[in-house]
Amino acid sequence: MCEECGCQTGNNSDKKIVEVNRSLLEANQEIAHGNRQHIERLGAKAINIISSPGAGKTTLLEATAGVLSEEINFAVIEGDIETEKDADRIRARGIPAVQLTTGGACHLDASLVHKGIHQLEHVISEGGLDLLFIENVGNLVCPAAFDLGEHKRVVMVSVPEGSDKPAKYPRAFIGSDLFIISKTDLLPYFDFSVEEASKEARRLNPDIEIITLSAVTAQGMDHWIEYLWGMVGLRP
């Protein structure tokens, strides 16, 4: 339509070039920013945990509950394609949990997490949140592109997956703050080089912190717990 008088014959045939320079993920980033503020208003910090399926994200959270649930108020937002299974495992430890099911999508996005935070507000007790874990859908590729409003991003690789994972999935390591190598109790049985995995992760991201641990034997759990204390800014 003509911009001058509103007639239908205007200058429609002329090309118009609009400069945009806007991220395709901008909508997600805006919601993520809101989530971060929302979480801070609840008095908490959030961690987004990314890994392949089966690396042990839920097991690590169960083990963390075993150590910390008396000392830090935490809650979990679980992301999966289907089922309440993971949230049920966390609830069985007495930890408030909300299950988000993406219904097929391979990653959580900020708007889903926003819904999760609102659901969580119904299940956490008064003044009761220091730390929020967001367990992403098991996938080392897509979750890496989506800010959820977390304060720290953790990427986790388990020993059976192989030490070439940082090299193969660079984006997840470039964007993360902490790299956890899990299931170290299995090191004697697999050809996994902690040195190679660490070197490649640091090559992608020189600032990444690295913790090796086993939720089964508790090796390295003290470093993880210390990292969490550092995040909430309290010490026992």
């Binding site: 090309k15 400069e19 320079n21 991220s23 909508a27 999508a105 592109a145 470039i174 490649e200």
Partner: protein, 128 residues
């Protein structure tokens, strides 16, 4: 990755821009996809062309994807390089992100790391 959903998001942004400008046809969409964004440009392009056919606004539209040269910096000596320098250093071997970089061309340390390059931007829209 999730190129299809990125393209859906792109089309939503462009639709909004066309509406604001009272235009009924998009003739060209220009995007920039960083070398470390994780986006596969072929899949992105495929998704765009698959989705545009059923859509009057986009059916005539082209897609131009700008892919900037990857950049690296050395945490040993602090210098920055673009991918072409690293490639020369590797004596003409094909460049593959991320582990065929070789050493830092300046100080020789194995301390190169990717710098930026994770952008996925809608640059420009041509409307008719």
């Amino acid at each position: 990755m999730h190129e299809l959903s990125l393209v859906q998001g792109l089309m939503e942004q462009v639709r909004q821009i066309a509406r604001e400008n009272n235009r009924e046809r998009v003739t060209l969409v220009r995007v920039r996809i960083g070398p470390f964004s994780g986006v596969v440009t072929e899949s992105f392009s495929f998704a765009f062309h698959a989705l545009k056919t059923d859509d009057n606004l986009f059916s005539q539209s082209g897609l131009e994807i700008e892919t900037p040269e990857p950049e690296f910096s050395c945490s040993g000596c602090g210098r920055r390089f673009d991918g072409s320098k690293i490639r020369d250093r590797a004596r003409g071997h094909d460049f593959h992100f991320p582990f065929d970089w070789g050493r830092c061309p300046a100080c020789g340390q194995e301390a190169l790391h990717p710098e930026g390059g994770d952008e996925i931007l809608l640059l420009q829209v041509e409307l008719e």
